[in-house]
């Protein structure tokens, strides 16, 4: 039996305890936020990053295989092939994302990369306090990404770019006279040798492994609490918001 939640309650009193989940009744509107290139880019990047993590660890050291086990005649070879193809896909998503910084809507453009107004920074700290459960009431709401999301997604973009640059610096070694090698020679020079390039590439993998559980969790959590279809917004492009709700960037 589904729980019936109806009528109007004294929310001012309820807020003192904790914020309840939004009651899934009332008047909602559907807001279209993410155009298909952004959604496609998200899922291609998600799949390729997962593939890159698994194949990357397999190339570096197959932790999840017993030491010295014969794993097939071309195991690392296949891992590298998948790694390089997924890397190409990730580069494609970067190109799409950069293009959509110019072509996208206000939630997808440059201004959505970082909190710019001082009030956005204040709201970001309110959001952090809300997540840390220091402040039970909900932080100021945004239709697009809130400032904390903007900052963390931009940081993960930067991580991806560093991964691509360091990855191609290593990849280019196979063809010393080639274009990729020539275009990435500055990378080992900047980082103090190819071993440091390898180290940076390896360590930053963990940035994804830290980002992914938090990102997936907070997305699901927002969907559960707001009941606005946050999760489906990265599939359909839009989400439901209450008609009477005010948004900072609405």
């Amino acid at each position: 039996m589904t729980e019936q939640v109806g009528g109007t309650v004294d929310t001012a009193r309820a807020r003192g305890l904790a914020h309840p989940a939004d009651a899934p009744v009332g008047h909602y509107r559907w807001v279209y936020l993410w155009h298909w290139p952004i959604r496609a880019m998200h899922w291609v990047a998600a799949i390729s990053i997962v593939l890159l993590i698994f194949t990357g660890f397999a190339i570096g050291r197959p932790y999840y295989l017993p030491a010295g086990q014969v794993t097939g005649e071309f195991f690392i070879g296949w891992m590298r092939l998948i790694h390089f193809i997924a890397a190409g896909a990730l580069v494609a998503t970067v190109i799409v994302r950069v293009y959509w910084l110019f072509a996208g809507n206000r939630y997808e453009r440059f201004a959505a990369l970082l909190p710019v107004r001082p009030s956005d920074w204040v709201n970001m700290f309110k959001q952090i306090k809300y997540y840390l459960m220091i402040r039970p009431e909900r932080a100021p709401r945004y239709l697009g990404h809130n400032p904390l999301q903007q900052l963390s997604y931009t940081l993960i973009y930067l991580v991806a770019i560093v991964m691509i640059v360091t990855g191609f610096a290593m990849y280019g070694q196979a063809n010393p006279g080639g274009l990729i090698r020539g275009a990435t020679l500055w990378v080992p020079q900047l980082l103090g040798g190819m071993q440091n390039v390898r180290l940076v590439h390896h360590v930053l993998t963990w940035a994804f492994l830290i980002f992914i559980p938090i990102h997936v969790y907070l997305s699901i959590r927002a969907d559960v609490i707001e009941r606005g279809g946050t999760m489906s917004s990265i599939i359909t492009g839009g989400r439901f918001v209450r008609s009477d709700e005010e948004f900072i960037d609405g």
Partner: protein, 390 residues
């Protein structure tokens, strides 16, 4: 093996007639030319051209400076594998100055250097092994009371070409590793006005030195160089891409410890610290000691000695990854990364649990609150325009 002889190569005599005088057969000479042509990566059809050019050359003058170094590079070059004619031409006959190999010593040796530089100004080949210390005005290496920097600058000024042999002359090698107490630098840090060929390696393979000099004598210019001044014919491919154990790498067959079964089977040394994937060198092809073996062939991982700053950037030599500076030897990057990822996941789980508790408490509280109005919801407002956001 051709030994030094009492029949010297006369100044205006061509190499061809000199070799004839030394009773070197035409077959032997062409064999040498074919080998050098192959080492230089030229088409085999170029061998007659190399032979023609080489037999016409006049006696070249080679001055070999040994600065701050261990003489290992000289040891390597005098063990040049096959080109015995190369030995003869380059190590024995043409060396006007090489203070380890030459018979003269002291003032006599220094006079030979001055005489040769004066007589062959602008024509001699300058080979340098060893780094140049710069701290404390260069007092860490002096020969005949003069510092390495002064000697090198003077010799380079009159040289036709400068060949820096070995990691010391390339960038300073072990004495330039942190903290570089003597301020050691390579030849190309001092000689800026003419091309410096870096024969990288600690020590480099002697054949590469010989082939570079033959290239210069044959074509009158230094071979094509990479971004770090190393000849492309030798340093144009990665050890990893030429390695006979590459098939084991691709198959995921790795040595994990030096005495394990995989090591005895000759599997890939990547996990015990092989730097072949970041090292450009012809070791797998040219090999060492008359093409007997080479480090990976003998079961030892490559330490990356042809790369700049390898003592710092390629160490520790027996682990695949560098240590994270300032954190300690044991705490490797993976430990920190795994700890953070596990911490993030644990935090997520704890946060989800806390959220659940909040939700249950909030809903219970909301249900207990009096409903102040049971009136039906107001009529829906007109649907707002769908903000595209543009």
């Amino acid at each position: 093996m051709l030994m030094p002889t009492s029949v010297p190569w006369a100044d205006e005599e061509s190499l061809g007639s000199f070799l004839e005088r030394r009773r070197v057969s035409r077959r032997e000479f062409l064999g040498f030319c074919a080998e050098i042509t192959a080492i230089l990566g030229l088409a085999s059809t170029m061998a007659p051209q190399v032979a023609e050019a080489l037999q016409a050359i006049k006696r070249p003058s080679v001055i070999w400076l040994q600065l701050q170094e261990c003489t290992g590079c000289v040891e390597s070059v005098v063990r040049t594998a096959e080109p015995t004619i190369g030995d003869l031409v380059l190590d024995v006959v043409s060396l006007d100055y090489q203070h380890t190999l030459m018979a003269a010593a002291g003032h006599q040796a220094e006079k030979a250097l001055q005489d040769s530089m004066a007589a062959n100004r602008g024509k001699y080949l300058l080979v340098v092994t060893g780094s140049v210390p710069l701290k404390a005005n260069g007092v860490y290496t002096t020969i005949g009371g003069r510092t390495a920097k002064v000697i090198l600058e003077e010799a380079a000024a009159g040289a036709a070409a400068v060949i820096a042999v070995g990691a010391c002359a390339h960038w300073g090698s072990v004495q330039a590793a942190r903290p570089n107490p003597t301020g050691a630098v390579g030849v190309s840090d001092i000689v800026k006005d003419k091309p410096v060929v870096n024969i990288a390696g600690c020590p480099p393979i002697g054949d590469v030195v010989t082939a570079t000099i033959v290239h210069y004598l044959t074509f009158g210019r230094v071979p094509e160089l990479d971004h770090d001044g190393r000849p492309m014919f030798a340093y144009g491919a990665r050890i990893h891409d030429q390695c006979p154990r590459r098939a084991n790498f691709d198959a995921g067959q790795f040595v994990e410890e030096f005495d394990d079964a995989a090591a005895r089977k000759g599997w890939c040394l990547y996990h015990v610290g092989c730097k072949g994937p970041a090292t450009f060198s012809p070791c797998p092809i040219f090999m060492w000691n008359t093409r007997t073996s080479w480090p990976i062939g003998a079961g030892h991982p490559c330490i990356g000695c042809t790369e700049r700053n390898f003592w710092d950037s390629m160490s520790p030599f027996y682990t695949r990854m560098p240590n994270v500076a300032g954190v300690g030897v044991e705490r490797t990057a993976d430990l920190i990364g795994a700890a953070l990822a596990v911490g993030a996941t644990a935090g997520v789980v704890a946060h989800a649990a806390a959220t659940g508790v909040h939700q249950i408490r909030a809903r219970r509280a909301a249900r207990e609150l009096p409903v102040v109005s049971n009136a039906p919801p107001p009529p829906p407002p007109p649907p707002p325009s769908n903000p595209e956001g543009r």
